[in-house]
C-alpha cells in the first residue's frame, strides 16, 4: 500500500459524505483524517475554545477499535455537546456542579453513533446547562465565533457549531430547547437541525426542559445533516416521549426540485427588531426560492408575540425541577467546607450556591417561582394554555403551506459581553426559534448570506411534525443553488 497515490487532505473539504466516498475508494483512511484534525485543532483551538473535554489518547485508541463491520459512519469524527452522556467520559454541561462526573452509560444517540462506527471526537463547550444564546456562561469560559473571534458563536450549542465551522471537527451533535442548535448554526454559517420532538431519543441528554429539548445534528452541509439524522433518529423504548413511527432514509429526500412546494412566510416575524442585513438576506433567499418555482405566500402565526414569555415560564419551570438532582449527595461538586455545615439544608444550599453559575441560578429561581403555590395558575398553567394556542397557529399555517420560512435570528452574531448584563435582550435573540420548540415541530437553519462585516446570516425552514424530509428537500435545493456553504472563516 503506497501513500503517494493519496490526495493531500483539504481540511475544509472534510464533510461526512465526502469522507465516506474517500474511505470507500481508499484514497484516505480515518487515521490520516484524525491526525490531520489533531494538528489543525492545535493551531485553531486556542482562538476558538470549542471543546471542554478532549482526550487525544482515547480517540487514537478508539481509532484502532473502529469496528470491522460496515457502519454508516465508519471512521467519521463526530463531536458531542457536553450535555450528552458518553460512557466513562466527562459530561459536565459546562457546569462546575457536574465537575468530575462521568456517566456509566451512553446516551442513545451516542450508542447509535458508536454502533455505526463513528469516532467520538471530544465534548463541545456550551452555555452552562444549555442556558443561554451566546455560549458565554460556560464554567470553562466562552467559545469564540470563528468568523470573528470577538463575536459570540451563539448558544447554547456554541462549541458544537464553532468546532464544525472552524473545521476542528467534521460534524457534531447539539441540543435545542429554544433554538440552541439553529441559532449557533446561523451565527457560525453552518447547518443545524432541530428534529420533531419525539424523533430523536433524549435518553442520556441531561435535561434542561424535558418537554422542549431535542438532540440534533450540526454539520457543514445539508447532506451531512441528513446522513447524521439517518443514524440518530428513531424510536427508543428508554424514552417514553420518543415516537414509534418509521424513519425514512433522509438522503433520499435530497432531490433538487421544489417545484410547486408551498412556502409560507409568517408576517409576524418581520415586524420589529429585525436587523436590516438579515432582512435583506432573507428577502433575497425568498426571491431565489421563487425562481426555483416554489410558491411563496404570506401566512400568520398570531400568537408569536407571546412565545418568548411562554417559553421562559415553561422552560424554567421544568429546569428548576430537572436541576434539583444536582445536590452534591451522589455525584458532581460538593461544597468543600463540609465540617462547618450544620444540617442538610445548609449542605444543599452551599453546594448549589457554589456549583451553579448566575444564569442557572436565575432560571432555577424563576422556575421555582412560577411553579409555587399561588402563582401556578397565573403563570405555569396559563403558559401551557398559550403553548396550545401556539401549536394551533402552526397547525393552521400548515394547512396553507408545506414549509414556513423565517430568519433564524433577528440579528447577526453579536459581540461578546454585549448582552451578558441584560438577560432580557439575550432572551430575545431566540425570538424566531422558540415557537418551534413550543409546537414540537422540526426546523433547520442554513446559511443564506453574510453581512458587510463577513458575519453569517441564517435562514430557518420549519416543517410539519415528522416531516423532516420536506425540510431537507427545500434546504438541499436552496443550498445547491447558492455557494454560502463553500465560504470559510479566515483563521
Amino acid at each position: 500500500m503506497s501513500t503517494d497515490k493519496r490526495m493531500p487532505i483539504n481540511i475544509e473539504n472534510l464533510k461526512i459524505h465526502r469522507l465516506l466516498e474517500l474511505y470507500r475508494t481508499k484514497e484516505l483512511n480515518p487515521k490520516e483524517v484524525i491526525d490531520c484534525l489533531f494538528s489543525h485543532i492545535e493551531k485553531i483551538e486556542p482562538k476558538i475554545k470549542a471543546f471542554v473535554h478532549f482526550n487525544r489518547e482515547k480517540i487514537t485508541k478508539e481509532l484502532e477499535n473502529i469496528p470491522q463491520k460496515e457502519g454508516k459512519l465508519k471512521g467519521i469524527p463526530v463531536t458531542i455537546k457536553d450535555n450528552i452522556c458518553v460512557k466513562d467520559e466527562p459530561t459536565t454541561c459546562a457546569s462546575k456542579i457536574l465537575g468530575g462526573f462521568s456517566p456509566p452509560y451512553d446516551a442513545t444517540v451516542v450508542e447509535r453513533l458508536k454502533r455505526e462506527g463513528a469516532i467520538l471526537f471530544g465534548k463541545a463547550n456550551m452555555d452552562e446547562f444549555a442556558f443561554g444564546s451566546s455560549c458565554e456562561t460556560s464554567f470553562y469560559g466562552p467559545t469564540h465565533n470563528p468568523w470573528n473571534t470577538s463575536c459570540v458563536p451563539g448558544g447554547s450549542s456554541g462549541g458544537s457549531a464553532a468546532a464544525v465551522a472552524s473545521d476542528e471537527t467534521v460534524a457534531s451533535l447539539g441540543s435545542d430547547t429554544g433554538g440552541s442548535i439553529r441559532q449557533p448554526a446561523s451565527f457560525c454559517g453552518i447547518v443545524g437541525l432541530k428534529p420533531t420532538y419525539g424523533r430523536v431519543s433524549r435518553y442520556g441528554l441531561v435535561a434542561f426542559a424535558s418537554s422542549l429539548d431535542q438532540i440534533g445534528p450540526l454539520t457543514k452541509d445539508v447532506k451531512d445533516c441528513a446522513l447524521l439524522m439517518n443514524v440518530i433518529a428513531g424510536y427508543d423504548e428508554k424514552d417514553s416521549t420518543s415516537v414509534n413511527i418509521p424513519v425514512p432514509d433522509y438522503t433520499k429526500a435530497l432531490v433538487k426540485d421544489i417545484r410547486g412546494m408551498k412556502i409560507g412566510v409568517p408576517r409576524e416575524y418581520f415586524l420589529e427588531g429585525i436587523d436590516k442585513e438579515v432582512k435583506k438576506a432573507i428577502e433575497e433567499a425568498i426571491t431565489l426560492i421563487k425562481d426555483l418555482k416554489a410558491e411563496v405566500k404570506e401566512v400568520s402565526l398570531p400568537h408569536t408575540e407571546y412565545a418568548v414569555a411562554t417559553y421562559y415560564i415553561i422552560a424554567t419551570a421544568e429546569a428548576s425541577s430537572n436541576l434539583a438532582r444536582f445536590d452534591g449527595v451522589q455525584y458532581g461538586y460538593r461544597t468543600k467546607d463540609i465540617s462547618s455545615v450544620n444540617d442538610i439544608i445548609q449542605f444543599y444550599s452551599r453546594t448549589r450556591k457554589e456549583g451553579f453559575g448566575a444564569e442557572a441560578k436565575r432560571r432555577i429561581m424563576l422556575g421555582t417561582y412560577v411553579l409555587s403555590h399561588g402563582y401556578y395558575d397565573a403563570y405555569y398553567l396559563r403558559a401551557l394554555k398559550v403553548r396550545t394556542l401556539i401549536r394551533k397557529d402552526f397547525e393552521e399555517a400548515f394547512k396553507e403551506c408545506d414549509i414556513i420560512l423565517t430568519p433564524t435570528s433577528p440579528t447577526p452574531p453579536f459581540r461578546m459581553g454585549e448582552k451578558t448584563e441584560n438577560p432580557l435582550a439575550m432572551y430575545l435573540s431566540d425570538i424566531y426559534t422558540i415557537s418551534v420548540n413550543l409546537a414540537g415541530v422540526p426546523a433547520i437553519s442554513l446559511p443564506c448570506g453574510f453581512t458587510n462585516d463577513q458575519l453569517p446570516i441564517g435562514m430557518q425552514l420549519i416543517g410539519k411534525p415528522f416531516d423532516e424530509e420536506t425540510i431537507f428537500r427545500l434546504a438541499y435545493t436552496y443550498e445547491q443553488n447558492t455557494d454560502w456553504h463553500y465560504k470559510k472563516p479566515k483563521l
Binding site: F101, A107, Y203, R325, V329, Q330, T368, L371, H373, Y380
Partner: protein
C-alpha cells in the same frame, strides 16, 4: 360529646418483578445499593419508563376497591429535597390520578359500613437512610419501587373502625396477590389523619397526622391515644395544634414531629418525561374479568355451600391462601365442618405458635385429608390424630407412614384389649370398688390406666364400654 373523624392513607409496595420506572429488580433485603441503575438513581440524562405490570396491579386494586378508573391520567413531579430521594422530586400523581371515588365495606358492631376511597394512585418509593453516630448512609435499593397510595375519605369514626378497615383492606389486597402486605418489611405503611368535632357539627376539627405505626394494632392504639389526647385538650377549652405526630409504641404515646407551619410547597407539575396515559375500556374489562372472588363474598358462599358458621367462614376466608386450601380439601373429603375445625384450631394454632405465615404452610391437602380419613375409620384416636398432625407439619410425611412408624394404630383386636382391661380391673381394686359403690368418676381413672397401658392406642370410647360391661358382670357376680 365529640365525634371522631379519621382518614387513612395506606402506602402499598407492589410486588412487581422490576421497579416502577426502570428494569431494576424489586426485592427486599439485598446488599445496599446493589439493585440500582441510572434511572432509579436519577442520574443526569436518565429517563423513566412506566412498568406495565405496576399499572396493571394498580388497576386491579382500584377496580377491587370499586373505584372509577380515569380514561386519562398523568404523572406529576412532587418536588422536595431529601437525601433518600435521588432526583429531589418524586414521580407521583396529583390532579389526574388513575382512579377515584371507590369504597370498601366493613362490619362494625352494629352495622355494615362503607368507607369511601377518595383516590388510588401510583407513585415511586424513595430510598432509605441509615443513620450511624458519625454518618448518614443512603441505600437506594428501594428507590423507584412501585407504591400504591390508597386514601380514604374521612369516613372512619373510631380506632376500632380504622382497625377493621385495615384488616379488610389487607385481606382484599392479599386476594389480589399484588403485594406481600408486610408491615414489618415496610411493604404496607399507614398514616392516619385524626380530628374531633362537636357531635352534629359539619365543620371538621383541627387534625393531626399520625405516622410511624408498624402494625394494625399500633394504628388502633395510636388512634385511641390521640383521640383521648385531643378530647382532653378540647375539654380544657384549648385548641388542637395541626401537626404531624409520631407513635411511640414503647411509651404508648404520640409525640410531636413537626408542625404544619413548615408544610411544604411541593410545586407539583406534570412530569414532562412521561406522556399522558390512556386506559382502554377493553383493558379495564379484561382486568375486571380476572378479579378474584373477594373475602366478603367468599365468606357468604362458604356459609351457604359448606354449612359453616359465620365465624368459621370468616376465619377461613380472611386469608385467600387458607380459603383456597380449605376448598382443595373440601374437594377430597365430604365433611367441610370437620376440615374447618382442623384448620381453624389445630393448624392455625400450630402456625401461630411457630410464627409461620399462612402462605408458608405447605402441607399438601391430600396429606391432611389422608389423616382425617384414618381418623374417620377409627383407626386412631382423636388425640393421636392431633399428635400425628404436628409431626406431619414438622416433617411433611404422610399420616399413614407416621402412624405405621410409631405404631399408633388403635388396638383393633378385641381380645388383646380385653386382656389389658382385665388386668387393669385386677390391679385397681379400690377404683373398682368406688365405681361399684356408685362413684361414676372412678371409671375415668380406669379408662386412663388402660390408655396408659396401650400407649394411647385404644379407643377410649370402646374402653369405656368394655370396662362398664366387665364391671357390671363382675358386680353381678360378686
Amino acid at each position: 360529646m365529640y365525634e371522631t373523624v379519621i382518614g387513612l392513607e395506606v402506602h402499598l409496595q407492589l410486588k412487581t418483578k422490576t421497579k416502577a420506572f426502570c428494569g431494576c429488580a424489586n426485592s427486599f433485603g439485598a446488599e445496599p445499593n446493589t439493585l440500582v441503575c441510572p434511572v432509579c438513581l436519577g442520574l443526569p440524562g436518565s429517563l423513566p419508563v412506566l412498568n406495565k405490570k405496576a399499572l396493571e396491579y394498580a388497576l386491579k386494586v382500584a377496580l377491587a376497591l370499586n373505584c372509577e378508573v380515569k380514561e386519562f391520567f398523568k404523572f406529576d413531579r412532587k418536588n422536595y429535597y431529601y437525601p433518600d430521594l435521588p432526583k429531589n422530586y418524586q414521580i407521583s400523581q396529583y390532579d389526574m390520578p388513575l382512579s377515584i371515588n371507590g369504597y370498601l365495606e366493613i362490619d362494625t358492631e352494629t352495622k355494615n359500613k362503607r368507607i369511601r376511597i377518595k383516590r388510588v394512585h401510583l407513585e415511586e418509593d424513595a430510598g432509605k437512610l441509615i443513620h450511624t453516630p458519625e454518618y448518614s448512609l443512603v441505600d437506594y435499593n428501594r428507590a423507584g419501587v412501585p407504591l400504591l397510595e390508597i386514601v380514604t375519605e374521612p369516613d372512619i369514626n373510631s380506632a376500632e373502625e380504622a382497625y377493621e378497615y385495615l384488616v379488610n383492606l389487607k385481606s382484599v389486597l392479599e386476594y389480589l396477590e399484588v403485594s406481600d402486605c408486610n408491615m414489618e418489611k415496610g411493604s404496607l405503611r399507614c398514616d392516619a389523619n385524626v380530628s374531633l368535632r362537636k357531635k352534629g357539627s359539619s365543620v371538621l376539627g383541627i387534625k393531626t397526622e399520625l405516622k410511624n405505626m408498624n402494625s394494625f394494632k399500633a394504628v388502633r392504639d395510636a388512634l385511641d391515644f390521640e383521640i383521648s389526647r385531643q378530647r382532653k385538650i378540647l375539654d380544657g377549652g384549648e385548641r388542637v395544634i395541626q401537626e404531624t405526630r409520631l407513635w411511640d409504641a414503647e411509651e404508648g404515646i404520640t409525640i410531636s414531629m413537626r408542625t404544619k407551619e413548615e408544610a411544604h410547597d411541593y410545586r407539583y407539575f406534570p412530569d414532562p418525561d412521561l406522556v399522558i396515559f390512556t386506559v382502554d375500556e377493553k383493558v379495564i374489562k379484561s382486568i375486571k374479568d380476572t378479579l378474584p372472588e373477594f373475602p366478603r363474598q367468599r365468606c357468604l358462599r362458604f356459609q351457604k355451600e359448606y354449612s359453616l358458621s359465620f365465624y368459621d367462614a370468616e376465619v377461613l376466608t380472611r386469608s385467600k391462601y387458607l380459603a383456597d386450601y380449605f376448598e382443595s380439601c373440601a374437594k377430597l373429603y365430604p365433611y367441610p365442618k370437620e376440615i374447618s375445625n382442623w384448620l381453624t384450631t389445630e393448624v392455625l394454632a400450630y402456625l401461630n405458635e411457630k410464627k409461620i405465615p399462612i402462605e408458608e404452610f405447605t402441607l399438601e391437602s391430600e396429606k391432611l385429608i389422608g389423616l382425617l380419613k384414618i381418623l374417620q375409620a377409627k383407626q386412631i384416636s382423636r388425640n393421636t390424630a392431633k399428635d400425628v398432625l404436628r409431626i406431619m407439619l414438622d416433617t411433611n410425611k404422610d399420616a399413614d407412614t407416621i402412624i405405621k412408624e410409631k405404631n399408633l394404630f388403635l388396638i383393633s383386636d378385641e381380645s388383646d384389649l380385653e386382656k389389658i382391661v382385665d388386668e387393669v380391673i385386677k390391679n385397681n381394686p379400690n377404683s373398682v370398688n368406688d365405681y361399684l359403690k356408685g362413684k361414676e368418676n372412678a371409671i375415668m381413672f380406669l379408662v386412663g390406666q388402660v390408655m396408659k397401658q396401650t400407649k394411647g392406642k385404644a379407643d377410649p370410647v370402646r374402653v369405656n364400654t368394655l370396662l362398664k360391661t366387665k364391671l357390671k358382670k363382675g358386680g353381678d357376680n360378686a
